[in-house]
């Protein structure tokens, strides 16, 4: 990999040297390096478009990295990654996609991730998105499908802080009895960027629960759209929260839907869109910060 690719890898995956444990590194549309671990086997698909990951029941404490780096302008990469996670596991999966586009062409990565999480397993899934380079478009359209078996727990942390021109994120989830899903989404758009996130979550099992928290900052003339639909199909708890800071000429839309199909479904949605509170800026000014420094601190803290 060249220095751009290495820099992107470090930004989205947090390493330059190969990490411990299982990993699969995809560069410019091809798997370039892969390692299995005692609990995790990675099987490349025959068509080259992704991987199938099998995690043995009872695998605990392992961390798997699956970063994607694209630094060749014009690549349009469509990838299917399927994860089959056995029962009683406790693992982390660190995904990330970075595009450096110095060329003239649209560069795009659409990752379709499907997780089948076994009974009583815990999975933390982290996904970082990042773009850099010139004016040619960088596009990321991740689709995440989640199937949580009885008692499964998943935390999904997604971050997109910089440089992605257009993104449409679709997340679908089905939760069985006592399964829990926690989603933490962080998003910053600027310039003419657009970002859409669209969640549809089915709480099918008794005692299933979801907590969906989105924090975003929209600057410049960027546009953001937050769509979420939580279907309470049983005795369950659903909570979604969309909290956006709007700046400049940005546009933010939040369209939450909570739908109770069962008398014992308890569903809450909170949405707040507003500019940075004036008193927060004033407080930081009194500590000697300038207006711009104060805004930057507030935004960084908000998205941390």
């Amino acid at each position: 990999m060249n220095s751009n690719a290495e820099r992107i890898l470090e930004t989205v995956a947090g390493f330059r040297q190969l990490p411990e444990g299982a990993f699969n590194i995809r560069h410019n549309g091809k798997g370039v390096n892969l390692r299995n671990s005692p609990g995790i086997s990675i099987i490349p698909r025959k068509d080259g478009k992704g991987i199938t990951v099998k995690v043995k029941p009872g695998t605990v404490g392992e961390v798997m990295h699956i970063p994607v780096v694209i630094d060749q302008s014009g690549i349009i990469d469509l990838v299917y990654n399927d994860f089959f996670i056995g029962e009683d596991c406790d693992i982390e999966i660190m995904a990330g996609c970075g595009i450096h586009n110095d060329g003239l062409h649209l560069t795009q990565h659409d990752g379709i991730h499907t997780f089948h999480i076994g009974r009583n397993s815990r999975v933390r899934y982290v996904e970082k998105h990042y773009g850099s380079g010139g004016t040619a478009k960088k596009v990321l359209n991740p689709v995440t499908n989640l199937y949580l078996a009885e008692g499964a727990y998943m935390e999904m942390d997604t971050v997109q802080i910089e440089g992605v021109d257009t993104t449409k994120r679709v997340t679908n989830a089905k939760l069985l009895e006592k399964a829990t899903l926690v989603v933490k989404e962080k998003l910053l758009t600027s310039g003419n960027q657009t970002a859409t996130t669209d969640y549809e979550i089915d709480l099918d099992g008794c005692g299933a629960g979801v907590n969906l928290v989105s924090r975003s900052v929209a600057k410049g003339s960027s546009m953001q759209e937050f769509l979420s639909k939580i279907n309470g199909n049983n005795e369950c708890h659903g909570h979604s929260e969309c909290d956006a800071i709007i700046m400049d000429n940005a546009v933010v839309t939040a369209i939450p839907v909570v739908r109770a199909n069962h008398v014992d479904a308890s569903l809450i949605h909170e949405a707040a869109i507003g500019k940075i509170a004036g008193e927060q800026i004033t407080k930081l000014l009194t500590l000697g910060l300038t207006q711009e420094e104060a805004e930057a601190e507030i935004v960084n803290g908000f998205l941390r």
Binding site: K283, T286, L287, E297
Partner: protein
């Protein structure tokens, strides 16, 4: 060190027709290392005056001189960089900014954990419990007030304005609070203006200013003003708080 000359602050009233004067021709003079307490009933203009000193509110008339420089037109950042500090009556809450961030921003440089913890201990907070807490709605009013005071300690200000610092510190002794003020005076060769209704804070003042209805109604050394206040005071809460009956004075 600080001179307020004929400060007035006027706002348009709700209907937009007339106007209302919130501060009326207020003049004050604060010497180096002076410890001034401003007291007066709710709505008398104390917080407005504090904000005018910090530059958060611009007076409609009058002049402010700090260390010989006219700062009437200086903005908040400039005044902060001249080492004027203000502890808000109602501390601001944030999302995602934690106590150690605020202390670091206040200090203007990276702080070691030890240093940050020292400021928190000074305000009677157990540092390990608070250093990584977010400054959000999960903190109580009293905790926020103490953190607010700790940020002023971290700043090392030359002039500190505390707006009702005693509010909500029920469990924390006044002795601690007054000790902080005395320590500040010794450490930084600084001066302080404290807005307070508390007799125990008034008792450590060098000078006392009483505001009522936007006007200075009494001003002088503690020895001069205190007896006057006591004579006009009415105990409000089983003699615990000091509550001058200012309607009568005004």
């Amino acid at each position: 060190m600080l001179e307020l000359k004929n400060i007035s602050f006027e706002v348009r009233d709700e209907q937009g027709a007339g106007s209302r004067e919130i501060l009326k021709d207020v003049s004050l003079c604060l010497e180096d290392r002076e410890f001034m307490v401003i007291t007066g009933p709710n709505g008398s203009g104390k917080s407005t005056l504090a904000k005018i000193i910090m530059g958060i509110v611009k007076p409609t008339r009058g002049q402010i001189v700090f260390d010989g420089t006219d700062i009437t037109e200086a903005d908040v950042t400039e005044r902060a960089r001249m080492r004027i500090g203000y502890a808000f009556q109602q501390p601001v809450r944030f999302k995602g900014i934690n106590v150690s961030d605020l202390l670091r921003l206040a200090a203007g440089h990276e702080l070691s954990n030890d240093q940050a913890c020292r400021y928190l201990s000074e305000v009677g907070l157990c540092a390990v419990d608070y250093i990584n807490r977010e400054i959000n709605a999960s903190l109580s009013g009293g905790e926020l007030k103490r953190i607010e005071i700790a940020t002023l300690l971290a700043r090392g200000t030359r002039l500190s304005v505390f707006d009702e610092p005693e509010a909500g510190i029920d469990l924390w002794s006044f002795q601690n609070l007054t000790r902080i003020f005395e320590k500040m005076r010794n450490d930084h060769n600084s001066a302080a203006i404290i807005i307070s209704h508390q007799e125990r804070i008034l008792r450590i003042a060098d000078t006392i200013v009483m505001l009522a209805d936007g006007r200075v109604v009494k001003q002088g050394s503690r020895q001069e003003v205190m007896p006057y206040l006591m004579a006009h005071a009415e105990p409000c809460e089983i003699g615990k708080n000091f509550c001058p009956d200012l309607q009568r004075l005004a």
